[in-house]
């Protein structure tokens, strides 16, 4: 049997030359004294493999259309075995790759590995970093949630600042509006164009690395060179295993975020990109008006141009960092700038509250109304509202809530007894929140206050980004007025200000409702 297998091996080798290939790949001589820092490239290569494999798995379930993308991602996470972990590996893997690529680049800079004759290897690495960032950017839009929609809106508008800006933006969108064609072409770029570029560049980078050999330690060691396998391969394997353990732990313990479904009309959403683009996003704040291209084109262009030109600017053979103070100082300054901008961007980012807005809590109560549950109930003709995703635009949902039998909004006046605008807005808020997390626990006071706010206040006031904006925002009203003032104002605004246009609610609300809503508002600081 053993002899047969050996014969089979010989036959395959004779036809393919596989043993020579294996020797070529594994027996590369590694200079003596090559340490752990030279494992960073293998970590990037491993993470790219994980992204490729998890990405292919995601395409088994993902549908690239605005009508289905969000639901298909939600389905993958909620109902597919290991679906959440697979997406987690892909999501956190993106951050890991950015970090690992930057560490690898800094290692190359610190060891002077970009110098002659490895200039082209370095350039292929810089191009790989750009392709990795392009992957991150195009991957953003695919889940079609709020972050996807708004971060992509900002990205495309950044492109408008460049030469032929409007035209470039049109090509990126596939038309004049962000929609189905945008999603399809970004998906196509993410799964076809960029992987093709990535594979080509990785092959070139590895081929060039083998052609010139690795640069090795800064000082020639007395140790003899050893074959890559198993000596350096062991170091690579151990570091890769540690990185994988960390990535898997994150993917298993923290669900990859999926925000509410993209809503182009939502003015309350504050878009923020992933952390690795936050420095660019933050920089836009400091270059107003005509200076904007400085932030969008000039500075990033100088950084990328500087990286590409590095081996030609620093041509002396010295590799030790202390003998290259200008290069090291330049990287330190750019690194410090990016870190500072990222920090400021994080500080400026609004805290995403896990709590529901009072309007959503009110909407949850209103949705228990008989007019809703006669259809939206287990076994009913429509899904229960907790599991219903808004497939139609908000205006349709609002019309449907006010007149459930109406198929086309605006065909007839809303019949008497239908829900008010404010109540319909509250149910809309509930439907937006319920898809992004389970209902919070609220006290009876908060519940009563939320119902009052949803029933009466939200048709004029905004609170936590929901409601109308024709009267002052109530989100922090407790910081401006105390409880006694609020009670007087809500009961009879004219008693405080004779010119007040708000109607009195003293006779509308029960004493319990008045207590609940004014206590709640006084606590909103």
């Amino acid at each position: 049997m053993k002899q047969r297998l050996a014969q089979l091996g010989d036959w395959i080798d004779n036809r393919t030359g596989v043993r020579a290939l294996r020797r070529h790949l594994l027996d590369e001589p590694i200079p003596g004294g090559t340490g752990w820092w030279f494992t960073t490239g293998s970590v990037v290569l491993f993470l790219l493999g994980v992204q490729l494999a998890s990405g292919v798995l995601l395409t088994f379930y993902y549908v690239p259309s605005p009508a289905s993308a969000y639901d298909s991602v939600r389905h993958l996470m909620d109902h597919v075995a290991f679906g959440g972990v697979t997406r987690g590996l892909h999501y956190f893997g993106a951050s890991f790759i950015v970090i690992a690529s930057v560490i690898h680049m800094l290692r190359v800079v610190a060891f002077g590995s970009y110098k002659r004759p490895r200039e082209v290897t370095w350039i292929s690495g810089v191009l790989l970093l750009l392709v990795i960032l392009a992957f991150a950017l195009t991957g953003y839009l695919l889940p079609w949630d709020q972050k996807a929609y708004w971060a992509t809106t900002v990205t495309i508008n950044v492109a408008r600042a460049g030469p032929l800006g409007e035209y470039v933006a049109g090509v990126l969108r596939g038309g004049d509006t962000l929609g189905a064609l945008t999603l399809l072409r970004w998906y196509s770029a993410h799964v076809f164009l960029l992987p093709a570029a990535l594979v080509t560049l990785v092959a070139a980078h590895l081929g060039l690395m083998r052609r010139h050999g690795i640069s090795g330690p800064l000082r020639t060691s007395s140790e003899p060179a050893k074959p890559f396998y198993p000596y350096h391969a062991l170091k690579d394997t151990l570091v890769v295993a540690a990185v994988f353990a960390l990535l898997l732990a994150l993917a298993v313990t923290i669900p990859a975020p999926l925000e509410a479904l993209a809503d182009p009309t939502d003015a309350s959403y504050v878009p923020r990109p992933e952390w690795y683009f936050l420095s660019l996003f933050q920089m836009l704040k400091y270059f107003p008006g005509p200076l904007e291209p400085v932030a969008t084109m000039v500075i990033p262009g100088l950084v990328v141009g500087g990286l590409l030109a590095l081996p030609f600017l620093d041509r002396r053979p010295d590799r030790h960092p202390f003998k290259r103070p200008l290069v090291i100082a330049s990287f330190a300054i750019v690194g410090a700038g990016i870190s500072m901008l990222t920090y400021l961007g994080m500080k400026d980012s609004p805290q995403v509250s896990e709590e529901w807005s009072p309007l959503a809590i009110a909407g949850m109560e209103f949705a228990r109304d008989e007019r809703c549950v006669r259809c939206h109930r287990p076994g009913g003709i429509a899904n229960i509202l907790d599991e219903t995703r808004m497939r139609k635009e908000p205006a349709w949902t609002l019309g449907h809530v006010r007149d459930p039998e109406m198929i086309t909004i605006g065909l007839r006046p809303v019949p008497a007894g239908g829900m008010s605008d404010a109540q319909a807005q509250a149910i809309l808020s509930f439907m937006r929140e319920v898809r992004s997390g389970s209902a919070p626990t609220v006290t009876s006071g908060e519940r009563s206050a939320s119902i009052v706010l949803g029933r009466y206040c939200a048709s004029c006031h905004m609170i936590d980004g929901a409601g109308a904006s024709s009267a002052p925002d109530l989100s922090n009203v407790g910081a401006r007025h105390d409880l006694a003032w609020l009670r007087r104002w809500v009961a009879n605004p004219e008693s405080v200000d004779p010119l007040a246009s708000m109607p009195p609610f003293g006779d509308v609300l029960t004493p319990q409702e008045m207590d609940a809503v004014t206590n709640y508002l006084a606590g909103r600081r």
Binding site: V154, G175, T177, T265, A267, S470
Partner: protein, 158 residues
């Protein structure tokens, strides 16, 4: 020698033919694929008058957000795009319409009734109720949309 020159000339001639054919094939494919890729970006959209709100529902001199449905083709499908516009009633039958798209990077602005200004949540752009820039990075005022009033309804051209 003559034979070698002939051979050299023949090879050069043949290689030029190969290059020319390859350029022709590449150019043809480039035009076809390039056209397919950028075509949608070239197609302009004609604006239409779309109903926004009954004029009686609009308070005087306060920007009121109104969602306007814009029917349009989105690739293979027909959709009604939802666009928020701010309607400001400036007279008995005069209405100004401002696009809610921030001119900086396209985020959606919202009306802050307390400070009487339109604010963008992305980079802190601030506009007054006429759409003029008050603060922040926006390079231009909010786009003003054409309006007309027909049978008590405000129509916006989008």
């Amino acid at each position: 020698m003559v034979g070698t020159d002939n051979e050299h000339g023949r090879r050069r001639f043949l290689s030029r033919i190969i290059t020319a054919v390859q350029v022709a094939i590449g150019g043809t494919l480039g035009v076809i694929f390039g056209g397919a890729a950028v075509g949608p970006a070239l197609a302009g959209r004609n604006g239409a008058w779309l109903p926004a709100s009954p004029i009686g529902d609009l308070p005087m001199d306060i920007p009121t957000p109104v969602v306007v449905g814009i029917p349009r083709r989105d690739g293979y499908t027909q959709v009604v795009e939802q666009r928020t516009v701010f309607l400001v009633r400036t007279g008995a039958s005069d209405v100004r319409a401002l696009d809610s798209t921030c001119t900086h990077l396209g985020c959606r602005v919202s009306w802050d009734s307390e400070y009487q200004e339109l604010r963008c949540p992305c980079h802190g752009g601030v506009y007054d109720k006429t759409g003029a820039v008050k603060a922040g990075p926006p390079p231009a005022p909010l786009a003003t949309l054409a309006t007309r009033v027909d049978s008590g309804r405000v129509l916006v051209r989008l």
